[in-house]
Amino acid sequence: MESFASLANDAMRVVAADTRCAAWEASLEQTTDLNRFLAGVERSALRIAEMAVRDRDDALDIVQGAMLRLARSYGRRPSGEWKPLFYRILYNGIRDSQRRRKVRSRIFGFFPGQRQDEDGEVEDPLDRVADAGPDPSQRVMAGEAMQRLEKALAELPARQQEAFALRCLEGLDVAETATAMRCSEGSVKTHYFRALHTLRERLGEVW
């Protein structure tokens, strides 16, 4: 009887150890998947954020915030859901940053000695601080074409910029883009088509 109890006890221990081992393996696999996913999107996400906020440090902060938020809040979700969620978080960060910049610009606008740009808008004094972004040589490397694309993109309405960046530059499909933008697939198609059409007109035959 005692030997039977001992055997049962051993069997239970083995089952518990197996369960712990399986859980650990699953966790490790998810960590690896998350690392791989983030490594795959981090650079392009940075460039997209940089194009939107025109500041590398701000863009890095936005990307870092998006990574952390995804990992903490959605790390346990299936990896297939990560991409649209990540870009939704990223664009929320971009919008927050743009909002903060506008508020800062308005606050500084009350002080005397502020400058106005050619459009009559008050210039953000922080724009005059030495640019921490890519230096001129890097800009040359990135190419004139990229500068033109950035300029043309910046002139598009925000939703068209978003649709174009996600569909064309990040390669999300229509459904993923709709999830990231929190709108219908029809809206995505409309925004994307209009963006592409306008870019074609503005960039002309240079491309």
Binding site: S27, Q30, T31, L34, N35, L38, A39, E42, R43, S44, L46, R47, R56, L60, V63, Q64, M67, L68, L70, A71, R72, G75, R76, P134, Q138, M141, A142, G143, A145, M146, L149, F164, C168, L169, G171, L196, H197, L199, R200, L203, W207
Partner: protein, 130 residues
Amino acid sequence: MKEQDDRLERTRRRAREVFDASVESLDTETRARLSRARFEAVEAADHARSFGWRTWVPAAAVAATVIVAVAIWRMPESAESPVAVAAPGDTTLDAVEMLADGEALDLVENDLAFYDWLEVTGLDASESAG
């Protein structure tokens, strides 16, 4: 129409090429900062996975405390009901009532004659039974 589609497709392809080239040209310092940010995020995910259940413990403790407090608070109300529905002449309930009645208890304590009577009647009863 087809020509326009082709032109749009060329624009799309060219934009993608230019963008990919700019991504590839990111300097090493920026790449390193991105890697650090990624490791932090992955660590945060591990931490959240390992200790996620612990965040529920305080909430569960608070919920349990509230439930117990409400149960205790409601108890006198629910304890009244058995007395109210008890049949008249229930000796157990009579005894409880008598014990709860402080005045009656004082009377019993002060009246030594009562004890004498109780002793005598108790003996008489046992003798007559025997």
